[in-house]
Every structure is written in C-alpha cells, then in structure tokens.
Amino acid sequence: MDFQFSEDEIRFRDSVREFAERYIAPRWVEIDEKGKIPLDLIKRMGDQGLFAIPIPEEYGGMGGTMLMAAIAVEEIAYHDPAVATAVYVLLNNGWPFALYLHGSEDAKNEVLPKVASGDAFFGIASTEPQGGSDVAGIRTVARKKGDKWLISGEKSFISGVRELMELPVGGGFFLVAKTEKAEWGHRNITDFVVLPKWNGKLKEGFNPTIYDEIGRHGISTGGFTLEEFEVDDKFRIGEENKGFYYVLEGFNIARTLVAAATIGSARWALDKAVEWLRERRLFQGRPLASFQGISFKFAELYAELEAAKYFVYKAAWMIDKVYIEKDPTYKPKDLNVPVSLAKLKGPETATRIYEEVLKWHGALGYTKECNLYRGWLGTFSYTIGAEGAQNIMRYIIARDVIGSEYVRG
C-alpha cells in the first residue's frame, strides 16, 4: 500500500494548482456574482488540457487517469470554492469518459476532440421533472426510424444548458431515453449522444430553459424539451436497451469527481479556518484556537475531511484499475461501494465544515463580504443530488454490504 501520489500526479497537481492560482482564484467571486464562467477561461482550461484528462490521446484526450482528473477537480474547487468551475471541469471529464467507454468510433471521433479542446461541452441529461434518482422511471422516448432515432421528452436540472449554447462549437449530453415505450423498468433504456448545438449550428426540436438557483451560480442549470429531435444511429451509445448499465457506470465516475470538487472546496474552508483561529483574538488576547470548544471541533472536521479525501482517491484509483489498467481483479460493480462512500461523505463533510467555519467567523461569517457562504451554498447542492441523491448512496452501500435480498425486504 502506498499513500503517496506518483511523481506524475504530483507534478500534474502542481501544474493545476499554479494554473488555478493564476487564472481561477482571482475570478471566482466574479464568476459566482455574474453567474458565468467566462468563455476565455473555458478556452484557457481547454488549452491547458483540463478536459478529457483520462481519455487517450488518439481521441484528443490527455492520456491521463481518473485519479488525475480527481486531483484536477479538487485543486480547481480549492481555487473556486463555490465549485462552479470545478463542476464544469468534472462534467467534461466524467461524461466524455463514459462516452469513450461505450460510444461508437464515429461518435467518439466527432465529439471527444472538441470537448477536450474546450470548444464544446459534454454533460449528462438523465433527470426529468418527475425525478432524477429513479432512472428506471424516465419518460423520454426514442423511436427508431430507418437509421435515425427521433427523441421526444423533457429533461430537467441539467448542467451546462446555457454553456453549450454559448460555446463556439456547442455541445450536448449523454442522454438517457426509453426505447419505444415509456414503461417503468431498466431493461428498455438506451443512451444517446444528443448534440443540440454542434459546429456552431443550433438544431431544431430543442427548447431550453435556464433555472435560477441559490448557489454555485457560475455553471448554468436548466432544462429542455425535445420534440422528435433527430439523432443518427451512430450516436447511440452501446447496445440498445443496455443504457441503464452504461449510465450507472457513468454515474460512478461522475459521483467520484463530484466528491472531489466538494473536498477541494472544504479544504479551502478549513485553510481559511486555520488562519482565522490563529489570528482572531478575544478574552484578553487569547487566540480563538485556544478554546477547545472550537479547536476540538476543528480536529473532528479535519479528520472527516481526511477520511473523505481518501474515499475519493480510492474510488478514482479503482476506476483506473477497472477502465484504464483493465486489471481483471476489479469489475465495474466493485466500484459501487467505494464510489458511494466518496459521494456520501464528500458533500456532507463539506457542508458541515462550512457551517462550523462560518459560525467561527461570528456575525462576519453571515455577511456577503465573507465569501464562505458561496462555498456553503455550492457544496450544499451536492447533498441534495447530482448524479444521485445521498439516500441512493446509502441504499447502494447497505444493499451491497448487507445483501440485496435483505435490504429490498
């Protein structure tokens, strides 16, 4: 067992840190205030190779690993603790990777290089107005017509809807649909690459809306309806009616990176706390850290964050074993528990840290002048959902550890 990052990982982390210090940290408040990651920053991140990190170079990727993607996402979230930039980066690593695993050669060659360069966005479109975690219950339908598919339905709470409209090439989604009929169940699901805007052209049959959220404003969340939206069969992902399994693999990847974003943000909050606990003095000049009511709480939170970090690194390391090293010892289903641990602990630890650190700042913590609230709201969104609700993580852990036959009752 080795708890050290490799030299490549350390050098890559240092390069991302330097990049984020130079180009993201000075703008993160503005990104949250204006509700937008500037396009020049997206392009710069593309030039720096921060998208498609684990994808081989032959598809325009960086030839790295999922652990490297997690390292990058964590560092970026440290420098944009409201996590919008980190979420943008994680989506454009996780879902392109899911496409790389199961997409057709044509789809991969068409989409991946443009996502890697930062000219296009590629995210996930699974959630619908009636729910997100209940993937088997989706109602969007894909109907086959010759060598095309006509997709109709509604997706909601989708990241990146505005960004794909604004980017020069455009972008799209790993979209989950029912094949033929919208009956509940997971055996009739097929995934598609849906590109509402591509090569600068907006396609017909795509009607987007943008939601107004309470935090993490830099990346858009929206919804859209599709009306007989035409998709070539080459953009079908993997085999027909096996989409449920592919999207769950994608969720395992994205959940790990979501957790990486939340621990990066929380690390920033705890670093702020260390400064504050040393400098803030009261009751005849005693540093705040000298009060055990606070320093002991700090120690607990520090321990929780360390634990969450190792959950994230282990999950990413196992993803690499399964998909990059193709180590036969590990199967995709082995990822369920490690990934769920990371996604369960990352966001919840981060929000707990923010709540405490904010309180340690007293009334100042509750002002907009103190930017802690931005990180609080940003990480809180991932305790609600994004790639599965927290209770889904609990369910997966309980199911796989206690046994499916007992947990289902």
Binding site: E7, D8, R11, F12, S15, E18, F19, R22, Q48, G49, I53, E57, M62, G63, G64, M68
Partner: protein, 257 residues
C-alpha cells in the same frame, strides 16, 4: 541556434516557516525551480519557437528533486538536459558553480546564448551570470526584463533604479533574466507525461575536470527590519512643507538618509 539554460533547485520562499525563536525551518521547506530560472527557461523556449533552436538545461545536485527540475524544463519545451551529480550542492562555492556551468558550456557546446535567472529564490547573489560571462569571456546582458532574440544577436532591456538600460550583443552571450521578464508557461499533462520519456544526461564534476570548493554555512537567521511608524500631520496645503521638513529630519536622525 543552441541555447543553454542553468536552473537551480531552491527554496520555495513563500512556503518557508519559522520556529518560535525566528529560525527558518529550511529542511521542512518545499523546493522547486526558482521563479527567475523558470522565466529563463521560458525565454529559451520562446527563442526556440521564434527562430528554431536546440535548447539544453543544466542543474547541479544529486536528488530526485534535481531530476524533477530537468523534467519540469522538458515539460516547458526544453530539448535536452544535464544533471551534474554532486551531494549537498547548496554548499558549493559560487566560483565552483560557475566553473561547472562553464565546463558544460565548453564540453557540450557550442552555444549561442546562455540564460540564467538573475538570482535564485534563496541565496539570490546575482553573481553567477557575471562570473560566468567573465570565465567564458563573452558579453553579459544583466537583469533583463525584456528580451528580443534575433538571428544575428540579442537585445535586452534592464530596468534599474535610475532608468532603463538597453544592452545589445552578438552571439555568444550570457543573459540573466528577471522574474518580471515573462509569465512562464504552465506545463500541460501531456507535456508532463512526455517529459518522463526524455533521457537526462548525467555527469560529475570530475568528468568535467572541475575542482570542487565548498563553503560552510554558519547560520541562517530571520532578519526583521525594525519598523517605526512616524505620523506627520498636514491638515491643509500650507502645512505640507513643514511636515516634509519634519519627516526628512526624522529620517536623518534615524540614519536612513
């Protein structure tokens, strides 16, 4: 064109911590390529991109961190690297360091340009470039903030306290680069992964025929410039002259001017 760059592993001064008695915790301080050295590497890579050149980096030391400096330079675009293997390079005398680089220049040359950071993050003597230019008997462009490498020579601007100086030289020349000269590129992951595959040439001071002299570092202490706050009141325009007079008087009495 061929360009040699010398880079030093130095303390990351921004991360240097001190114990309660003011002693710097040097062993615990992370080390990396100095800021000005990184700018020197960047200038070499820019010259290569502009005019076409083979770029070579050299560093002195025996640890894995020294090898990392070479690989970091490769990841920025340098083509070839030499590591001069020697223990405790921080105790080498400056003339020894200059002789080692001069021998690399002579034995792996010819070179048109030699780039160095104006000073390292830790010792920052700024003496290496002048010493090297004197040993090699080639022109020196010192403390350059803005550099223009042309086909037949080089022009650099140095900003000093009393104004800007423009230096011009034909090849070969030694140029010391400041950390204000450019914004060094940040290596991409692809470049980092590729840099591992480029071999590093290893030599020793004996291979170069250099007689090693060492210095002994007696002590390092934190130097804190004592501060005093002097307030001169000037409520309106008429009092400014009087306040300036008082300020000058105070500065004279403190021996500042």
């Amino acid at each position: 064109m061929r360009i040699l760059v010398a880079a030093k592993l130095s303390l990351d001064a921004g991360q240097l911590k001190f114990d309660s008695s003011g002693h710097p915790l040097i062993d615990a301080c992370p080390r990396r390529m100095g800021d000005a050295d990184k700018c020197a590497v960047e200038e070499a890579v820019r010259a290569k991109e502009k005019l076409g050149a083979e770029t070579v980096v050299v560093t002195i030391g025996g640890s894995a961190e020294h090898a990392r400096i070479i690989r970091d330079a490769y990841a920025m675009g340098i083509d070839k690297g030499y590591i001069v293997r020697i223990n405790e390079p921080e105790t080498l005398s400056l003339p020894t360091v200059a002789r080692i680089i001069a021998e690399i220049y002579r034995r792996t040359g010819p070179y048109d340009l030699v780039f160095l950071g104006v000073g390292s993050n830790d010792t920052h003597s700024s003496m290496l470039a002048p010493m090297l230019s004197s040993m090699l008997d080639i022109p020196l462009l010192p403390s350059i903030d803005k550099l223009d490498v042309k086909n037949d020579g080089v022009e650099g601007i140095a900003t000093m306290e009393d104004g800007s100086y423009t230096f011009r030289a034909r090849f070969p020349a030694v140029i010391s680069i400041t950390s204000e000269a450019n914004e060094p590129r940040i290596p991409t992951l692809r470049a980092i992964l590729k840099s591992k595959r480029i071999p590093i040439q290893e030599v020793s001071p004996e291979d170069l025929g250099v007689n090693v002299e060492r210095i002994r570092l007696e002590n390092v202490e934190r130097f804190i410039l004592p501060r005093r706050r002097i307030l001169m009141e000037a409520g309106d325009q008429s009092q400014i002259e009087e306040a300036v007079g008082k300020l000058l008087e105070a500065l004279r009495s403190e021996g500042v001017i």
